[in-house]
């Protein structure tokens, strides 16, 4: 999976979120930080080479910052899409959006009134018009206030968003974690850490087997009951 993360942030130097995501995502994708003016041909080349295109930005007035809109307005032209508008077919369009307000405010009856999905309709429209597969957006809510644990969970969710088939299945997540544990075990020289990682991997494997058994039983019950 060749993933290209396009970052549209007008004040990248002040961002806490973006360096974190870049650090944890660097082995999983190519990162491209937008800076105007754009060389249209180079930008289009980058997009054609990618299989999964991720637009990553802070939500400014409920949409992409002007810098990213400029990139979309200038780069997504007839040349990029092709005469039949089919040059981006089979590519995927993902969104990583960071919020300054809590995610719970984004629903009817709350302060932001509409959901993130509703506010992102223009980008979903872009995916439809260019025949790209739309991925459910990954929302980063108030990164500055997140605990270390929350950030670790975000790191895993982000790495999986960059690399796993979407929409993601639980089984794929577990397989992904198992592979990660194996790699960490190989890379560490600390024997105690190695043992701990081995134990974690064994635990994960056992839990997955139990889950498989439960799923088998559930299937049997369903068949017996005639569902």
């Amino acid at each position: 999976m060749k993933t290209l993360v396009v970052i549209g942030h007008p004040e990248l130097a002040d961002s806490e979120t973006q360096p974190f995501l870049k650090q944890v995502g660097k082995d999983w994708a190519t990162f491209h930080e937008l800076e105007a003016p754009f060389d249209i041909a180079t930008e289009q080349q980058l997009i054609w080479q990618a299989e999964r295109l991720i637009l990553q930005f802070p939500l400014y007035w409920y949409s992409v910052p002007a810098l990213m809109k400029q990139w979309l307005d200038e780069v997504f032209d007839e040349e990029l899409l092709g005469p039949q508008h089919d040059r981006l077919v089979k590519k995927e369009l993902g969104i990583v959006v960071s919020l300054g307000r809590p995610i719970r405010e984004f629903q009817s009856g709350q302060r932001q009134a509409f959901t993130i999905d509703e506010y992102l309709r223009p980008l979903q429209g872009l995916a439809l018009a260019t025949k790209m597969k739309w991925l459910s957006p990954l929302v980063v809510s108030q990164f500055a206030y997140q605990s270390d644990t929350a950030r670790q969970k975000l790191a895993v969710a982000y790495q999986q968003y960059l690399s796993l088939p979407q929409p993601v299945r639980f089984k794929d997540r577990v397989a992904w974690l198992t592979r990660q544990l194996a790699t960490m075990q190989t890379n560490t020289k600390d024997t105690i850490a190695q043992q701990e990682l081995q134990q974690l991997a064994a635990l994960l494997s056992m839990k997955q087997e139990q889950l498989d058994d439960l799923n088998d039983n559930l299937r049997l019950v369903r068949e017996t009951e005639g569902y």
Copy 2:
């Protein structure tokens, strides 16, 4: 009603729609054509002076062009809104959006998949967050292909959108047309044109009286029937 029309069009010189709207709207509003870079203080002064703020733009990838987004990102700051976010209270936010595709495509199951209302959620969110009254958008669909009659209708709808209380009532539209006919009658020196305008005004007035009568009858019927 002090109406400010802010035009965000990156290629104004090539636009057919914008000069038309400016020509027919010039007596009804102040027109402000955006050009970057912006002097933030001047822009904010313009907004504070207006009672009705109209954002006028061609739809680019289902949202405002980058130029207008830049204006929103830079000008709509804490200074404009005030510490209590109440400096724009009682102002109205209207949208005049022009489309390169037919309006019928903007619905579920059609090519553009979502309605204009859905695509404009970010601007509606802006109105809510700044406590401005949101006006139903005025859509200009494929101006280049419009007949003269369609353009004349558009001119009237546009002038009314700039000047009448919203949402507009039928009675207000008729009163507005009557005033327009009276003004035209005063301004022309052609006696035949004067007579024709007078006849039109008389016809309009008669129709309005008939409508009032019908409404009275309808009310009586309803009361008798106990609705």
